[in-house]
Amino acid sequence: MPSAARAGVFVVIAAYREAPAIASVVRELLAADWPRVVVVDDGSDDATGAEAAAAGAMVLRHVLNRGQGAALQTGIAFALRRGARVIVTFDADGQHRPEDLPGLVAPVLCGEVDVVLGSRFLGHEGAVPWRRRLLLRAARQFQRWTSGLALTDAHNGLRALSERMAARLCLRMDRMAHASELVDQVALSGLPWREVSVHVAYTDYARAKGQRGWAAVRVLRDYVVGRLLG
């Protein structure tokens, strides 16, 4: 992929209390020749923002913690104002690999589709803990029912959006339910989408930092309330 094309690709990372991991995530992305890394420090009380800036990312700071959905929307708005052609959402805890980005970005860059969603289950790559797999299966079924999109994965934070899709995106579910909201808005937009197999590393750090299974109850509640009340 030529450098000129990569300059239009903005990798947006929402980070909350990720000081131990964020610098290496940013450095790996820059080293893999993705020059535009935007970290939205979502009101962390640790050195997340400073670490990200020192590692070479563009850092935006929420003065109050507003949740991952809110932080991603901030990063996306910023990237669009900076002339992004493709926006990639990437997790801050190191569970995603920069190696997956070319396969994610290319279909959007060449105009085949407007949305590429990363999937843990296409091609059986990576080992997903069984309890998480069961939960994700239920989430996937729910997602099919609410959005009409038959995806193989749910709530995977690795995605690529075209400028067109990103401009239409309006995430109002500030916390974790935004991942379902995003899929709904993709379905509603009618723009072409595709799933691409990605690897998700369930490292000890990511598992300790990540959502517990029971958090799904809250995500579900946020989603239902958000859908009903707008």
Partner: protein, 132 residues
């Protein structure tokens, strides 16, 4: 009519008039309608105080034994309605806070991009406290 009745009726009527006076000042239709409704509620309270038997009659018609029970159930319903309205208002407020936080984050990053030599804005409360 007891003294309590007289005083309470006066208070309720006063509240009804006050609510309607405020309602007439409002430009927006939705809050005005809500206020008019509250005024009606105060009026109903005044009527119930004036004729306590009316509530007992209403209770019997509804199949509820005592008038006080009708009031209790109505109060619970009103409480639920108020809680719902408050949570709606809270939601709206949260969304507005998010928009503000977002605009502030983007505005600050653009300010620091246009003036790279300027000192970065102090956002951390610790940094402020660290002063003499």
């Amino acid at each position: 009519m007891t003294t309590f009745q007289l005083v309470a009726i006066a208070v309720c009527l006063g509240m009804a008039l006050l609510t309607w006076a405020v309602a007439l000042q409002r430009q927006n239709v939705a809050p005005r309608q809500v206020l008019l409704l509250w005024g009606l509620l105060w009026l109903a309270a005044a009527a119930a105080l004036a004729v306590p038997d009316a509530i007992t009659y209403l209770a019997h018609r509804l199949g509820i034994g005592r008038g006080a029970d009708v009031l209790l159930y109505l109060a619970v319903l009103a409480g639920c309605a108020v809680a719902f309205r408050l949570s709606m208002a809270q939601r709206r407020l949260e969304q507005q806070v998010t928009v503000l936080v977002r605009e502030l984050a983007i505005a600050r990053s653009e300010a620091s991009a246009t003036a790279p030599t300027a000192a970065p804005p102090q956002t951390s409360p610790d940094a402020v406290e660290a002063g003499p």
